[in-house]
């Protein structure tokens, strides 16, 4: 269902909501396009005119500085007009519903919504309601998905490892609460990574983890042995409910990635982290700042990946409006026309 919602009938990307079910062809197209955008930063004018005249609304119903900033920079480098709305602090507190908020913003001639929400499925809900020319990018919804993070992680792996087909990759930490982990696992599987490991304490491991196609490890030592890539997750304190964990100190003792533990991985293994890091909890400073860390390049690649996603979504609209795929789309969702 979400794959259908995300794609036009002719197979092109309409919204980016989740990496689950997206074909490898689209993931690869995004990564290839991002490589082109990376060279824009070498220009004196670090901007291209692709999205001139488009209005992109960053709708952040949940606080996030880094993700919002990288989306904002990406949109500005594409010459779009960007509006940032921190909705937790505005209309929602006055009782307006999510869809009313979105309908009002659409009436201000938005072309794209970048949505971050604490509820899983919020971006899908918006995507189902918007007019056909509006695109939705999920910038993180509840525990569900964070597709652009997953994509920038894939870009990083491909950049340093050349591909996915011979890799052993460990995703380490709070798998249960992590939308990042879900997106990473979906993308790695689709792109043909032969061994993906979910590594974390039993209390932070989803019961259905194995059904995602991963190997479950409940010890850090066995989980990162001989891997090519270690993808650390953030310990999400604000999402922790009940007594799933002892203290941060205790977590560090068993699950913190230290230089000694990293020696279990392959000597040329890279270490990734989506940020913000809890130094001394899930990752030791000597690893975070060490030679195997690619955490800062991840941030740089993230801008190029978000430029790629936004430009792939926003391009070719006149074609869509005039061609039969538009008619097919309207047929499938007849209510869309009556929405602002």
């Amino acid at each position: 269902m979400s794959a259908n919602l995300q794609l036009y009938p002719d197979g092109r990307l309409r919204h980016l909501l989740t990496l689950d079910g997206l074909p490898a062809r689209i993931l690869t197209q995004i990564l290839d396009t991002a490589a082109g955008f990376l060279s824009v930063t070498e220009q004196e004018v670090k901007k291209v005119p692709l999205l001139r005249g488009k209005a992109i609304f960053n709708l952040f119903f949940e606080p996030s500085t880094r993700t919002r900033t990288t989306f904002e920079i990406a949109a500005k480098r594409l010459s779009a007009d960007v509006l940032n709305l921190n909705i937790a602090t505005s209309s929602q507190t006055k009782g307006e519903t999510l869809l009313d908020t979105v309908a009002n913003l659409a009436a201000m001639h938005a072309d794209m919504f970048v949505v971050r929400h604490s509820s899983s499925g919020a971006a899908h809900l918006i995507a189902r309601q918007v007019a056909p020319h509006i695109h939705v990018v999920n910038a993180g919804d509840g525990r569900h998905a964070h597709p652009t993070q997953g994509l920038l992680d894939m870009y990083t792996i491909r950049h340093y490892k050349g591909g996915f087909h011979n890799l052993r990759v460990a995703v380490v930490g709070d798998i249960l609460h992590s939308r990042v982990a879900r997106s990473q696992i979906n993308a790695l599987t689709t792109l043909g990574c032969p061994e993906v490991r979910a590594v974390g304490p039993k209390t932070l491991m989803p019961r259905d983890a194995e059904s995602l196609g991963v190997h479950v490890h409940t010890s850090l030592e066995s989980g990162i042995r001989d891997v090519d890539v270690v993808m650390m997750l953030r310990l999400q304190n604000e999402r922790m409910q009940g007594a799933l964990l002892p203290s941060p100190q205790e977590y560090y003792k068993y699950w913190g990635l230290t230089p000694e533990k990293l020696k279990l991985a392959k000597p040329d293994a890279i270490v990734m982290h989506p940020g913000p890091m809890n130094r001394g909890v899930e990752i030791d400073s000597n690893v975070a700042d060490g030679g195997q860390s690619v955490i800062l390049p991840q941030v740089t690649f993230g801008i190029a990946v978000r430029m790629a996603v936004m430009s792939i979504l926003a391009g070719g609209e006149m074609g869509v409006k005039s061609e039969k795929c538009y008619a097919a789309m309207m047929h499938r969702d007849p209510t869309a026309l009556h929405r602002p």
Binding site: R12, Q29, D32, T33, A35, G36, F37, L38, S39, V40, E42, Q43, E44, V45, K47, V48, P49, L50, S311, I312, G315, G316, E317, M318, G319
Partner: protein, 186 residues
Amino acid sequence: MPLPAPTELIDRLAEQIRPWLTPENEVSAQAKVSEANVRSGPSPCALVGIHTGGVWVMDELAARLGAGLPQGTLDIAFYRDDFSRIGLHPEVKPSRIPFEVEGRRILIVDDVLYTGRTVRAAMNQLFDYGRPAAIRLAVLVDRGGRELPICPDYVGLRLELGEGRHLSLEKDASGALRLAEKGPAA
């Protein structure tokens, strides 16, 4: 219609371009304008090929014009004027301009010149790297059909092809270049 071998056309282009590399005439003309130019001599030049065919032609030209000539490549996908109609080109290649554009004389190289829209995009992109002293245009084939006021300085071959015809430069597995013409007969 048999099309000439690209290598012959590139030989022809290289001979036309050679005087531009050491432009004694241009230097004296510039010297009248500015004394600074007399002291610093002619501005340095560089070749810039447009992906993909233009880069192939540039590589061949560089082999004939001598080493030491800086080379850059542009993929104009992000500067196209038909983005909102047809979207982003599916295969974007990174652009690489490994030299200072500011104050440099630049030769843009492309394979087939048609509407002129690609060259317009390339010039816009180049200006986002800096302000060149001058830009010239070399094309393997000028096939007519211009939609913008763009005129090449160096041309390997001039043709008048009908609107429905498609002319492109291809490279086979052995690396040999070939011109291919497709579409309904005029």
